[in-house]
């Protein structure tokens, strides 16, 4: 490829990127209802100390966002399983036992797991307002020297 052609190629790449960025910016700023930002949509995160305090005082319902198989192998004692892929009737069935007036703490494997936020968001959409995510998850729970319930 000659220098002129290379430059033309780079220019075209930049042009396409610029057009895309322009479209993205104008479309999102012209929305009738601007989408809420990530910050606003974020759910409160709590650390290990706070989680233990909440658990020991029996203030909250713990929700396990992992799969049913993982849940069966071991979970925080008393936790309810709501896998991150659950939707529709299945999701409704899973959340019937969760009281809406209690605090909900959602967790999954640990820091490398993104399922807690997905489930927390679904629960928020279902009308649960007092939500928190325990990002350290089971890894954090075990490192605090706490036991699991299950097989």
């Amino acid at each position: 490829m000659k220098v002129g052609k290379k430059l033309a190629f780079v220019f075209k790449i930049l042009l396409v990127c610029a057009v895309s960025a322009g479209l993205a910016w104008s479309f999102n700023s012209l929305r009738p209802v601007p989408p809420i930002t990530m910050q606003q949509s974020e759910i409160v995160e709590i650390d290990g100390v706070e989680t233990l305090k909440i658990f020991d005082s029996n203030e909250a319902v713990f929700v396990d966002a992992r799969s049913d198989t993982d849940f069966a192998m071991g979970h925080i004692p008393g936790a309810v399983n709501v896998p991150s892929w659950a939707i529709g009737i299945e999701l409704d069935g899973l959340i019937t036992s969760i009281p809406k007036d209690k605090m909900i703490v959602v967790y999954c494997d640990g820091l490398s797991c993104g399922k807690s936020n997905i489930v927390a968001r679904k629960l928020r959409d279902k009308g649960f307002s007092d939500l928190a995510v325990y990002p350290d998850g089971l890894d954090g729970w075990l490192s605090l020297g706490r036991d699991l319930e299950g097989n």
Partner: protein, 134 residues
Amino acid sequence: MSIKSLPRIALGLVFIVACVGKIADPVAFGEIVKNYQILPDILVMPVAYFLPWLEFVCGALLVCGVMTETATALITAMLVLFIAVLSANLYRGIDVACGCFSTDVSFKSDMVMTIVRDVVLLVFAFLSFRFRKD
């Protein structure tokens, strides 16, 4: 339309279909991007806004047969990036929703199948490049 245009048009259509859900709900897509744990938080939302539109523009260029070389190069770069990110997460054992065709996290993700699909799309990109119009 000759048969040589088919991979190009098919690839373009796939990218157009893939971007619709993400354009409609950039916040949900942002959450998926965040779950991949590749980008720093500050870049998550800009990428979630920009990437679907880049997919759309490249897809539209391919379907229309305009600047196909450029669009194919960008799509190839995106596919290579997706494959790298998916493989990295597969290696790290992070199982998150793919976010490839929608922002719906309702189904269990199958990363291996997603990687295979992206490789097939790469073949389409190669064919599209081979029979480019630029």
